[in-house]
């Protein structure tokens, strides 16, 4: 759905999404990197289990919740990617202790 601009020459950052290597760019947020990856990155909501994608991209709507390096319910749109970051798509509620 999304394509990188040809003028985007930022350095590549390598992250893992559900264990698979994904190339992001330095300065991407986790949500931007997920949307640009072309993968199915829909999370499932905590109560009804409805599929959702990041929406507001500015920290307000909480539809980008994602598990980052083992910590659930992170707002992917507010967290910059870093080399080796492990991302898991959160299906439903956060598990306590994660």
């Amino acid at each position: 759905m999304f394509k990188r601009s040809v003028h985007d020459t930022r350095p590549i950052v390598r992250i893992l999404v559900e264990g698979a290597p994904v190339e992001a760019r330095a300065g991407d947020t986790v949500s931007a990197a997920l949307l640009a990856s072309g993968r199915d990155v829909r999370r499932l909501t905590a109560v009804s289990g409805a599929p959702r994608l990041p929406y507001c991209m500015m920290g307000v709507c909480f539809d980008c919740l994602v598990t980052i390096d083992g910590v659930g319910n992170r707002q992917g749109c507010l967290v910059p990617v870093a080399d080796g970051m492990r991302i898991e798509i959160q299906k439903g509620k956060r598990e306590i202790g994660r």
Partner: protein, 379 residues
């Protein structure tokens, strides 16, 4: 506004709504006079426990009334579900009050003993449990937990959905809900009560004061008294998480939708315009010492509210001697007692008299008899 009603209920919170719902169910022509959406409303600031243990020290009748309310809650939940389709998520599988350290455990054990020594304890079934007994049903307890008390009658509910269901039910029963009608005066003429509101007068054969702490002001208008001693409380709410807590605790519960609620302070300063972070810090600290894995959860909300609290902590139900047909109802535990209000109190009001064997002990005349020691009745 000249329509006549059998009963006008002043107050559309959880208590007034439950009574009005019960009156509507009995076919009474009923109006609910409420303030607006922005009014201070304990019905939206409560902790949503249906709670029995430790209630009634100093007034055994309150123990019996509470047990009765807890036992009939399922009937209310079923009726609301059938009528409105709203599931209020009632869970009554027993609740714990956990203690941290040996001193707290000792004090709780003393309380349990005092409760059992009081008349009416037969109904109570509250008992102390060791840390290892508690740990068998509550995985993840921290090392400081010394045990606590357990009562199999305790439970919790989704109180906001209960409130919504009651209001949907009022509509279905044909009860008139009249918002923005704070009552400024009540007079009795020609066998009916006339209630003055900014939108005109409302007339009814009977009037029920269910306006929370404002009952203190309204009651003298009809020869009643309702001495109140409101308190303030704060609650901390976390993000949703997978279910981990199979029983409600007195100050910690997980809602049916996964949220963890951490309560609840009891403060005397009644300014609820801002949060006191020091109090939230103490509550959060206790919560994470009880369940260390809670430390990783994010807090998403916190609120303060003013509690409805009769001066001695126990409910007040009375009918006026000077103005028969005028009733007053106030209590702190509007959630726990909701089924009693919907079924018992509504029935008594419809019949025109409060039943002494069920609620005689709750007359405000007790305040005249002796000046009781001020206390909340909650321990």
């Amino acid at each position: 506004m000249s329509k006549d009603y059998d009963v006008a209920v002043i107050g559309g919170g959880l208590l007034g709504s439950a009574i009005a719902w019960g009156l509507g169910r009995l076919g009474q022509r009923t109006a609910v006079l409420d303030e607006g959406d922005v009014t201070k409303r304990a019905s939206r600031a409560n902790f949503a426990l249906v709670w029995v243990q430790s209630k009634g020290l100093g007034m055994p009748a309150y123990t019996g009334w509470t047990v009765r309310g807890a036992r009939s809650w399922a009937n209310l939940a079923t009726a609301l579900r059938a009528q409105t389709g709203v599931d209020v998520a009632l869970q009554q599988n027993g609740g714990f009050h956990l203690t941290l350290g040996e001193d707290e455990y000792g004090r709780r054990a003393d309380l349990v003993t005092r409760m059992h020594n009081q008349t009416g304890a037969a109904d109570y079934r509250m008992e102390m449990v060791s840390a290892s007994e508690a740990g068998r049903v509550l995985p993840g307890l921290g090392p400081e937990v010394s045990g606590g008390s357990f009562c199999p009658l305790d439970g919790h509910v989704n109180s906001l959905r209960t409130y919504r269901a009651l209001h949907a039910g009022l509509k279905a029963f044909g009860v008139d809900y009249l918002p923005e009608r704070p009552v400024s005066g009540i007079t009795r003429e020609g066998g009916e009560f006339r209630l003055a509101t900014p939108s005109g007068e409302v007339r009814a054969a009977k009037v029920v004061l269910a306006a929370g702490n404002a009952n203190q002001t309204l009651a003298p208008m009809v020869g009643l008294s309702a001495p109140m001693g409101p308190t303030r409380g704060q609650i901390v709410v976390t993000e949703r998480t997978e279910p981990f807590l199979p029983h409600p605790l007195s100050t910690l519960r997980q809602t049916d939708e996964g949220t963890v609620m951490i309560g609840d302070s009891k403060e005397d300063v009644l300014d609820d315009r801002s949060m006191r972070q020091g109090i939230n810090a103490v509550m959060a600290d206790r919560a994470q010492r009880t369940f260390p894995h809670l430390a990783r959860l994010n807090v998403v909300r916190s609120w303060s509210g003013i509690r409805v609290m009769p001066r001695d902590g126990f409910p007040i139900y009375d009918q006026s001697d000077a103005h028969p047909g005028a009733f007053v109802a106030c209590c702190h535990s509007g959630v726990t007692l909701a089924a009693n209000h919907a079924f018992e109190i509504a029935r008594m009001i419809a019949a025109g008299s409060l039943e002494p064997d069920l609620v005689g002990a709750f007359s405000a005349k007790r305040f005249e008899a002796t000046e009781r020691r001020a206390g909340s009745g909650y321990y």
